[in-house]
């Protein structure tokens, strides 16, 4: 399951997240009974937690460390694994030109999808916010690609991108333009993936922006209008600053998920032509499950984790300059 951190708006409201809550019924009871109640509550607590935490530890939390342990091995799943220390990382980061290419590809994808996605979804949310009629309908329409599986989306776009009969080139032909060799040219394949991904994720960002826009008190706009602020000034000095936490949230989420791109590119291009749309997760998949280089694949996965972690940490660090919570 794709899992992401909560929105900042939510986080603000639930700032007491880890503060202990009172045990149910533990107030106004004599001290001795309270102690036995406390033990009782603790036992119940562990019992309630047990079914979830076993699975959580085995399949979510311990594997993070296990991946690191595996990344220090040379292991093909047939012979006995041998410990090689940081050799996999050395090879990956210093001696693997393919991985360098893959990092560049993934970076290209991130740069291609994230800013465009943010600007377009903001424009759409603004349009939707200003024209109240049909809001539910439009929101639903833009959401359809979001709920559709990446596999189905890529299947459809494979057909749309077909160089002779795909709808996109047919449209270009109709305008008297030459067709674009979307999937057969290593220069155009990544733009094709980016175009498709932006289309798929637009509605998701739009819904979040819409929630952010609707959280801005109308009284602010009224006060600004009375003071003579025109639409552009209101947008610059009210909408944008008050949307900053939302923009920050969308930025972090989009970056994280963009670095993890797999399904869309795997089905649309299979990483090709050549290696032009090969991405980090595709490399994990190929190394681990095509070539059975388990240690090497684990090192790639860990590098992905490090990148995502660093990008998120960096954004948290610089957000202070441009995101102001009320």
């Amino acid at each position: 399951m794709e899992v992401l951190p909560p929105m900042p708006i939510q986080r603000r409201r639930s700032g007491r997240m880890s503060v202990g809550t009172r045990p149910v019924g533990a107030s106004a009871v004599p001290v001795r009974r309270q102690r036995s109640l406390r033990t009782q509550a603790a036992i119940a607590g562990y019992a309630f937690l047990l079914p979830n935490i076993v699975g959580f530890l085995v399949f979510s939390s311990i594997p993070v460390l296990a991946t690191f342990a595996i990344s220090t091995l040379d292991w093909d799943m047939i012979r006995t694994p041998t410990f090689v220390g940081i050799q996999n990382y050395e090879q990956l980061l210093l001696e693997d030109p393919l991985f360098r290419r893959i990092l560049l590809n993934t970076g290209y994808y991130v740069v291609g999808t994230v800013p465009a996605g943010i600007v377009l979804s903001l424009l759409l949310a603004l349009a939707l916010n200003s024209s109240i009629r049909g809001i539910t309908f439009f929101r639903a329409v833009f959401f359809v690609p979001v709920i559709t599986s990446a596999v189905a989306v890529a299947m459809i776009w494979r057909w749309l991108f077909n160089s002779d009969y795909g709808l996109i080139n047919v449209g270009l032909f109709a305008l008297g333009l030459p067709g674009i060799p979307w999937l057969s040219s290593s220069a155009w394949a990544m733009p094709a993936v980016i175009l498709m991904a932006t289309w798929k994720h637009l509605g998701y960002n739009m819904v979040i922006y819409l929630a952010g826009l609707q959280g801005i008190p109308p009284s602010l706009y009224e006060a600004a209008s009375i003071d003579g602020a025109n639409a552009r000034t209101r947008f610059r000095h009210i909408t944008l600053p008050l949307l900053a936490p939302t923009t920050f949230f969308i930025l972090v989420i989009s970056m994280i998920t963009s670095f993890q791109v797999f399904d869309l590119a795997f089905i649309l291009t299979g990483g090709g032509p050549g290696v032009s749309t090969n991405t980090i997760v595709m490399y994990v998949y190929n190394q681990a499950f095509q070539f059975f280089h388990m240690g090497y694949a684990a090192a790639v996965a860990w590098v992905l984790f490090a990148i995502v972690f660093m990008v998120t940490a960096l954004q948290w660090a610089i957000q202070r300059r441009w995101v102001h919570y009320e």
Partner: protein
């Protein structure tokens, strides 16, 4: 003002067409005979529509089996996830036990880890258990999420403690409170989690791709990816297969739209 509104509508209408046209094209292509698939200019309304394409696709690959697998896996994971997450969420929300806050931090921390980081050890565990190519591999690792626990805990915290205290005084045990007070009052939260769990499983690809290698256990998305490889240019068949993956989740969405939107606005979960 009205010019601006007109511009907004224009943008929304163009955007909506861009969103829906690919799906219309998918359905249209799926109903075409081979001869009309590669027609120029393109034909939007195949006449007569080739409904036979669908039964034909069911023969080419065992899509019926894939559909059953996907439905079974998605339903089972959803039930398991709702049950185990709600139990854990109740513990985190209401039952003070030693180490609770630290464990909750561990849950939160794991939320930030990309899922692909854990697939290698999880695959190895599946091999050791002998679970690869079984429903167990598709279901069990997906059923215990930090996310579900986190989401429901936030919902449970908003239920007034007084209700539970009253039930305690009336002699209700913790499980009774969970069963008869907390769960019934958390309908929207449970619905949101259930829908997202179902959608995530319905659309899942990488994990099912890794742990299945026979048609008996392949899910629809994995089946589609093989279909793509075998019938690379039979776009009418490919689109008919794709329709089978898109339409069911679309129907769920149309019926339960408000939970989708609420879930996203509340937590930032995604089916990406």
């Amino acid at each position: 003002m009205s010019a601006r509104r007109a511009l907004a509508y224009l943008g929304l209408v163009i955007g909506s067409i861009a969103m829906l046209l690919p799906f219309v094209w998918m359905v249209s292509t799926s109903l075409k005979p081979d001869s009309e698939v590669f027609a120029y200019p393109p034909i939007w309304l195949p006449s007569p529509p080739m409904w036979e394409n669908y039964p034909k696709v069911l023969e080419l690959l065992p899509f019926r089996r894939y559909l059953i697998n996907t439905t079974f896996v998605a339903t089972t994971v959803t039930i398991l996830e709702v049950v185990t997450s709600s139990l854990a969420a109740y513990a985190f929300a209401r039952l003070p036990f030693p180490g609770r806050d630290r464990l909750f931090l561990l849950y939160l921390g794991t939320l930030m880890v990309p899922g692909q980081v854990t697939i290698i050890p999880n695959f190895l565990v599946m091999s050791w258990f002998g679970w690869t190519n079984t429903y167990l591999a598709l279901i069990i690792p997906a059923a215990f999420t930090a996310f579900g626990t986190f989401l429901l805990r936030q919902f449970f915290l908003s239920i007034p403690v007084e209700l539970e205290q009253a039930a305690r005084i009336d002699g209700c045990g913790y499980f009774g409170i969970y069963r008869h007070i907390v769960m019934p009052l958390s309908g929207p939260g449970i619905a949101t989690l259930a829908i997202f769990a179902f959608m995530t499983q319905w659309n899942a690809f990488l994990w099912p791709l890794i742990v299945t290698n026979s048609d008996n256990y392949r899910t629809l998305t994995v089946g589609l990816s093989y279909f793509r490889g075998e019938f690379a240019t039979q776009f009418n068949y490919l689109m008919a297969g794709t329709v089978m993956n898109v339409v069911p989740i679309l129907l769920v969405f149309v019926c339960l739209q408000r939970y989708f939107v609420r879930g996203i606005a509340l937590t930032g979960i995604t089916g990406r």
